[in-house]
Amino acid sequence: MAEKRTYEMIFIVDPETGDEDVMKLSDSVQKIITGQGGSITKTEMMGKRQLAYEINHKKDGTYVLLEVEGSGAEIAEVERRMRVNDQILRYMTVRVDEMRRRADKLKDRRARKAAKQPGSGKAKAAAVQTDADEESAA
């Protein structure tokens, strides 16, 4: 299997579906993912909130967020099913492992910069060195 990837998967469920049905839907999605060899690291029911614009003439929707780990094959399967499900107004999957890695890199770079800055030890030492050289030459 290819490398492990992390995805954030969010979908909006029709506001008219009850809480239990939303749970059921979320469970079925999770089952598909685990069935395909992926794993769920986080689930979050973001609850009902107003949509910024109408989708299928609906003004609000129930948001469900999942964090999925897997190869990517299970994402394709889940998305294929969401596409035909009328209860799901919209879905979106974002790959986050690369984003997070990039953020870590930035953090690393900053940490190194900070470590270098306060004493600026090397630069000072070098300056002193050149001064001494000049004196000895004179």
Partner: protein, 95 residues
């Protein structure tokens, strides 16, 4: 409705004094990137509260010439706003 960003007050701009308040060319102190100060490495597209402060009423992305956000963070911000739009957390265009 005209979108004249220059004349609007977005809060975070307020603290920078204008040496020449009304002239042909307003001098402004250089704005500093808020994300750099707070050391933000990742702008979350789910953070609607944060993103809305960079999306004026019309729904457009606030240009960095107004907000003072640095290029790196503006790029992250734009991406996050676009994602939030896709999932109806933010509008593509308002009224």
């Amino acid at each position: 409705m005209s979108t004249n960003y220059e004349d609007r007050d977005f809060g975070f701009e307020r603290e920078y004094d204008r040496t020449m308040p009304r002239g042909p060319r307003r001098m402004q102190r250089r704005k500093i990137c808020r994300f750099c100060i707070e050391k933000v490495d990742l702008i979350d597209w789910k953070d609607v509260k944060l993103l809305t402060s960079y999306v004026p009423e019309r729904g457009k992305i606030l240009p960095r010439r107004i907000s003072g956000v640095c290029a790196t963070h503006q790029r992250m911000l734009a991406e996050a706003i676009k994602r939030a739009r896709n999932i109806a957390l933010l509008p593509y265009a308002a009224d």
